[in-house]
Structures are given as C-alpha cells and as structure tokens.
Symmetry: C2
Subunit: 220 residues, 2 copies
C-alpha cells in the first residue's frame, strides 16, 4: 500500500519534473538542485557564487530556496540574487517538482542564466525527487565527519558534482579526505569532488569553472 | 490520498510505540530517542556516555542504531555498549516503532537500565515517529549554524532535552548561542538546553546528571 502510493507519487513527480526541465531549456537556463545536510553551507555557497558569476561573466541568477519554516535563507540571499522565491514546506522533508513548477511561475526566466534550487537540508528524502534540474549538486562538510558518503549513498550516487565544504576545519578536526574518496569510489566514479571553503575562499575558482562549463556544454 | 495514508501509518506506528513503551517499562528501562542532523555527534555522545554510566552508577546500556547503510556506528559502539542492534533502513529516512519492536526481540532487556536509540541522521522525518521512548533528545551542533532551531522547529518542539554539541568550536566559528535560546523560547520553553563538547568533555556532567534524574523520576 505505502510502496505503491510512493511509486505513483514519484511517477507523477517525474512527469512534472520533465515539464520543468523543458521549460527551463526554452530559456537556456542551467538549473541546479543543491542537496546537503542542514548547515553544510548551501546558503553561504550561493552568497559567494552568485556575485562571482555576475562579476566574471555578467550572468544573472535566480534562486528557489526550500525550508520547513522561516524565510531566513531568502533574506540572506536577497542582497545577491536577482530573483528569489522562498518555499516553506510546512514540515515537508524535501522539495517536489510541483513546488518548483509553481515557483517558476513567479520568476522572469528570460532574465537569468542560472537557477539555483536550494533544497531542504536533509541527506535522505531530497535524493528521490527529480525537480527538473539539469545537474544535481551534493554537498557535505568537514564537521559532519568523514563517514557520510558511505552512510548516505543515495544522495551521492546521482550527484553530478560533490562539494566538500569547510575544508579550513580539516586541521582542527581529525578528518580523513581519503575516506571520502574511497567511499565515493564505490558509489560514484563519474563526478568530480571539489574541496571548498566558502568562508575562507578555498576552491571557489574550481567550482565557478565547473559551473560555467556545465552551462556551456548544455547549450552550445 | 497521501495524507490519509500518512495518517493511518502514524496511527499504526503509535500503537506499536505504546506496546514498546509498556514492554520497556516492565524492565524499568529508560529509553531515549536521539535525533539530529547527520554528523552532529550522536555516536560520539554514546561512546562517552555509556562508559560513564557504567563507571559511576554501574548501570548497563543497550543501543539500537539506525542508518540507511553500513554498520559503522555499531562497530564504533561495539566496544562500549553491553548490547547493540544495528538497523539498516535501506533508504528509509527514519526509524519506526515496528523496527524498534523487532530490535527489542534481539536484546536481553533484563540486563540493562538504559536503551539509547540513535535515530537516522535527519532533522525532519524522525520527528513524526514515536518509537516508544520515554524521552526525546534533540541534538544540534555549532558548525551547523545558529539558525537550526527556527528552521527545524518540529524536531525541537517535542524534545525533552536539547543538546548543543561542539561548543569548543564557538570561538572558531561566528556562532551566537543567544540566537538558539531566543528561537527555543518560541517553540520549547519546558526543556533544558545543555551545552556540550563530547570531544573536549565540556558539559558532560550536566548531561549525565540529567539522564540519571530521568531514570530515577520515571521509576521511583
């Protein structure tokens, strides 16, 4: 009973997701679905990334941000994003393609090149739901411990890029990046791991280059 | 459709949870359901707590630990817990009362005073499921940022104690404990906030005292 309901929910979600992707393609947007545990640094990543894309390539960004409650992330990003929509899931543990479809209605898609979708902070449920994105970003951070890829493989297996954030804390904590690489070699060998510190500015150039390349490869 | 299914799932779960609680009460166990984001420090908390309870009060502990995959937490706790059961949810985002009931069948409940249930690392879904515990523990940690109580109120509202871990990193990161206290004052004024560092040994005596008091008040 539960399984068949979940199956039909996912099937319906995927149909809406395909519609979203088609719609985004018409405007030549690159849409990214960013997933991580709570507090890994998704919002800070966007606070840094969006102005950098604007400064280097004059490319504009919209953001859709999902949280159970509050508009704190939207308030933080209000100063940098050209357009922003906050979704409150009211207890829901992930964004869905229908939520994104409704949010797209509120955006002027002709004016932006990137759409960043900041999913609910949760390493489990967002993994199952296609939102219509072009690329999936899975972020983890050093204070969470170096066992997270092995423990949450469903998040990392479908990711197109894995961002390891807060690498400035590797020296403070006993974190073994090699353990992450070993665990990734079992679940995802196709996607790069980029080591970042959004606060200290480490690795951000690699991330921006990866982003710009994704956009170029999708539409040229 | 989805809502009515969820309602009936929760109702069935709650009935099993009541059975678990009754069974645990017959053996005078204190059962704790420990919830947090991935990597907040649940396993390290237990690695420190279980030997301390044994040393100070000669009280034995069993652990049920939930993860999507791997038995890494059980391996870490194997050296300290008297009895341990690892549940792999195979993608499931929370433990359920039925999983706990089956795990209880594998434990000798007459030999232990505490049952620690380490839930799947997830700040959303575990909040909805009563496992039959006597007390609910909600943990958060400094690197996750000081906005998590406001953003995940459903985890903190039903908690009997809130543990703020990794306080040794407050000086390294720009963390405002007052923001946590202000947000808690809106969702949960009944339960204490204990500031901890499981690694540095800060606040652990307060936590042990709280634990022992819960056991005493439940059965004496």
């Amino acid at each position: 009973m539960q399984i068949s309901v979940l199956h039909s929910v996912l099937k319906a979600n995927d149909a809406v997701a395909r519609g979203n992707r088609h719609r985004l393609g018409q405007y030549k947007l690159l849409a990214l679905n960013i997933t991580s545990a709570p507090g890994s640094g998704k919002t800070t990543l966007l606070e840094k990334t969006i102005p950098a894309l604007a400064a280097e390539n004059d490319q504009r960004s919209a953001v859709i941000v999902g949280d159970l409650q509050t508009s704190r992330d939207a308030e933080r990003l209000g100063g940098v994003a050209d357009q922003i929509v906050q979704i409150n899931t009211e207890g829901g543990c992930h964004l869905s393609a229908t939520m994104i479809s409704e949010a797209l209605d509120q955006l002027d898609l002709a004016c932006v090149s990137y759409l960043f979708i900041e999913n609910v902070g949760n390493m489990v449920c967002p993994a199952c739901y296609d939102l219509g994105e072009h690329v999936r970003v899975a972020m983890l951070s050093v204070p969470e411990g170096d066992d997270k890829v092995a423990k949450y493989p469903t998040l990392f297996q479908p990711a197109d890029v894995i961002l390891l954030n807060k690498v400035d804390l590797i020296g403070v904590l006993s974190y073994q990046v090699n353990r992450v690489r070993e665990d990734l070699s079992l679940v995802n060998t196709k996607s790069p791991l980029i080591e970042l510190s959004t606060i200290a500015g480490v690795g951000m150039t690699s991330w921006y280059s990866w982003l710009v390349r994704q956009h170029r490869e999708l539409y040229i």
